[in-house]
Symmetry: C2
Subunit: 228 residues, 2 copies
Amino acid sequence: MNITERYARETARDYALRILKRNIASLELVPGSMLSENELSAALGLSRTPVREALIELNKIRIVEILPQRGSRIALIDCNMVEESRFLRMVLETAIMELACEMAPTLDFSVAEANLKLQQFYIENQLPEKLMELDNDFHREFYRLTNRMQTYHLQESMALHFDRVRSLSLTTVKEIRIVSDHEAILRAVRAGDQAEAAMLVVKHLNRYKIDEKAIREQYAAYFTPERC
Amino acid sequence: MNITERYARETARDYALRILKRNIASLELVPGSMLSENELSAALGLSRTPVREALIELNKIRIVEILPQRGSRIALIDCNMVEESRFLRMVLETAIMELACEMAPTLDFSVAEANLKLQQFYIENQLPEKLMELDNDFHREFYRLTNRMQTYHLQESMALHFDRVRSLSLTTVKEIRIVSDHEAILRAVRAGDQAEAAMLVVKHLNRYKIDEKAIREQYAAYFTPERC
DNA sequence: ATTGACGCACTTGTATATCAATGGTACAAT
DNA sequence: ATTGTACCATTGATATACAAGTGCGTCAAT
């Protein structure tokens, strides 16, 4: 496990959650591997209670299986859950953008604008590492503008399933296209063009399509036996 | 609090969650009222641990506020959350039905059919009490058929916000319309008619529209001061 | 070699006690 | 009226213990 420092004033539970999520997304915690509350609390330097609470949360999004009286395990990658997280993001983000179109006249897009400027800066200066965070921020900003943060959090929790597959993927997203996608989306939303915005969102999210078949074959042990 | 027996083999945490949710939805637990882990564990005959775990879950869907070192409280009814839960259901259920339309040729609708038959039976025999459960079952069946149960659970958790307002509402839904809506939806999905199914879902869910303004005025103390 | 019984080790679920940190309250002092 | 102080209740977290259930190894019987 890749363990880093606990933030100031971060609760033990949030700390455990943060570290666990990161290690699950990066596959440092191998799908199918067993955990135990005791083992984890020792590794994290916490007691069982906050670790247990974190595991319960991860169990709720079905990324951790809790087998009573036996142990816990990192769930195998379930294509159905990956598909469902993709579905959720597609459906929700389309609806969010359509909503943003309706509200456009009353919205302040300056945060999104500033974010875009930064994206362009990092592209020009060849610093693609920062882009993923900016990408997330950009999308989240529309949930915030439309007052749908709870929806964002629901979607975000499911995204872990997709992140694991992305970690296995060799296909990287073309940064320049991403940024121009974002520009186009913001333009459409500003113009209140729902159909255009929805179309762009779908096109944008489809860039993250991954060659799941090849990955599945190469890393068969990480996946649930059921076919998709 | 309205407390009932614990089911056989129900974990203490699930029991606490079930009782709390029911009492929150029915407003038996008054919006804005304070709770404490100790008080609740005494009332439920459990220890702090499972009660605390239940409160953490309710806090995550923002129906319970946890104020560290001060206590917990039943959140006031927040119009934004109510609106967001309505938004979520509308968006997700529309997408689910469209998906079901695509998959229609491969789906087995016999469970939904049987449910509809029962709905008709209860209408004819004037037993509307059973209808709400059947209503829920009917909708859940489409999430199951399209393999989107996790999506269902996310939506379900947010529904608590809406349920509280519905408990205050005097406007009852017309049962007969509900059943005929369901029939029409199933027909459209069978026929694979996405546009029709989506339209029917929106129309159906709009029947649950509630006179929020009047309720807000009558029960102002239950609501957050912010306007919607 | 196979089977069956048994017990051991381990895990989660739960209970309980305890302490730290902190916001609220009551009350005295001014 | 304001301020300061002591006290209390509450959650966050730790530690410990026990119950119950699972899996595994041992060992005897066959």
